[in-house]
Symmetry: C2
Subunit: 251 residues, 2 copies
């Protein structure tokens, strides 16, 4: 019987056309599926917790696949890593319940968005943060973000082309903190619409910069009008940090 | 009269053939001199504190040039940065004494070498550390490094082709510390021979891994025999961190 293997995956999205396999362009799913095909001598489908866009990074993307190989689950870490380029790494591999599904069973997704505010960005960080000129007040950023928390229709913060029927999502936290030379936005929720995190970040930064507050954010959210959102923040600041499954679902 | 401008420069060495300008290959000095030539509408020579090899990074390389432009010194930061690619950044610019020389006046150079010991290297760090399999004991690394401190003939730790007549250098500190997921080697001295830091790092790691100690390092140092050194550690772990000039020299 085929065993179900769950992978936690980190990648530098700079040179990828995103997670999802496509005919043209290098993708994370494509690289890993090519390695799985070599290991199994046949096509193996990898199911991710969700897509990430071109240029977006991950330190905790999750995916699963079925194998008939008689290999201890943790050995897949080395087997796959030896066949893929260094800008994507399998961090862990474990056997999970045969019904486990990376996408449908995800209970919470956590993203981080890195902002370098003011000053000059060290070259080694240039692909991993959004450089903005002004230096926002972190307390004000948090006050502006607060109305987003809870269950809302997030139509305002998605992009044309999002395939979801319902734009209602549950946001569990949305907080800015200072970490070394970066401002880090940590956002967690059950699921996210296409470009939702980057649209939220861009909107909060714009509201703060223009002197607005929580009332303006609340009004923009409730308008369900994409025209009211700020410019979408660039992909290189965004990391898919972790996908949580409850114990029931993961075993 | 021409003013003397001192720059502090950071770069990601990954896609550079080192600091020093050459006929073939992209170099940091070459990129900045090209920008200076555009600003001045003539060739301008940039003098660095020293070379760095292909793949080696800097967060505090120092260089100086002479200008007849009527521009406040700090404006050169933006003027140059707007003309060079994002993998090199001018961090600061200041006017210094007309006699200031980045190389000859340097009193101390500080390098950092980043090691990822055991585990899997996050893709975003892959170009900025040396991955080793074993996990060395940091106290032992420091004991092995200790005999290097002081003024010694460092012939053991240079590469064929080093142009220096004397191989005597003064090492002020050489210490390993744990920083997050990395082991960081901080080494400071008046000047370094070609590949000296990387040769020292490679040798210390080899001695530790083989169960040796300070006595072995002392013997290897005193042998002045390059064959006794360990394999040179790879360039991507190395950062030129800071160049110190005493106040007398800098003003």
């Amino acid at each position: 019987m085929n065993r179900n293997i769950k992978l936690v995956i980190a990648y530098d999205g700079t040179d990828f056309c995103g997670w999802q396999i496509q005919n043209n362009g290098r993708t994370v799913q494509g690289e890993i599926e090519a390695a799985l095909a070599k290991i199994h001598s046949r096509e193996v489908r990898l199911t991710g917790s969700g897509r990430t866009d071109s240029g977006v990074h991950a330190d905790g993307q999750t995916a699963n696949f079925y194998t008939d190989k008689d290999l201890p689950a943790e050995k897949f870490v080395y087997a796959i890593n030896s066949l893929i380029p260094a800008d994507v790494r399998i961090m862990t591999a474990e056997e999970v319940d045969e019904k486990f599904h990376s996408r449908f069973d995800a209970k919470m997704r956590i993203y981080r968005y890195y902002i370098k505010a003011g000053g000059i960005c060290q070259p080694q960080h240039r692909n991993y943060c959004w450089r903005i000129r002004g230096v926002p007040d972190i307390s004000r950023l948090n006050r502006i973000a607060a109305p987003l928390i809870g269950t809302h229709d997030f139509t305002t913060f998605t992009a044309a082309g999002d395939p979801s029927d319902s734009k209602v999502r549950r946001l569990d936290s949305a907080a800015f903190t200072a970490e070394g030379q970066f401002i880090v936005f940590k956002i967690a929720g059950n699921a996210f619409l296409w470009k939702m995190v980057r649209s939220i970040v861009g909107t909060i930064i714009e509201i703060e910069s223009a002197g607005g507050g929580a009332a303006e954010m609340k009004e923009i959210l409730e308008s369900r009008d994409r025209e009211r959102a700020g410019a979408t923040a660039p992909p290189q600041g965004l990391f898919l940090h972790k996908v949580h499954y409850d114990e029931q679902a993961a075993i």
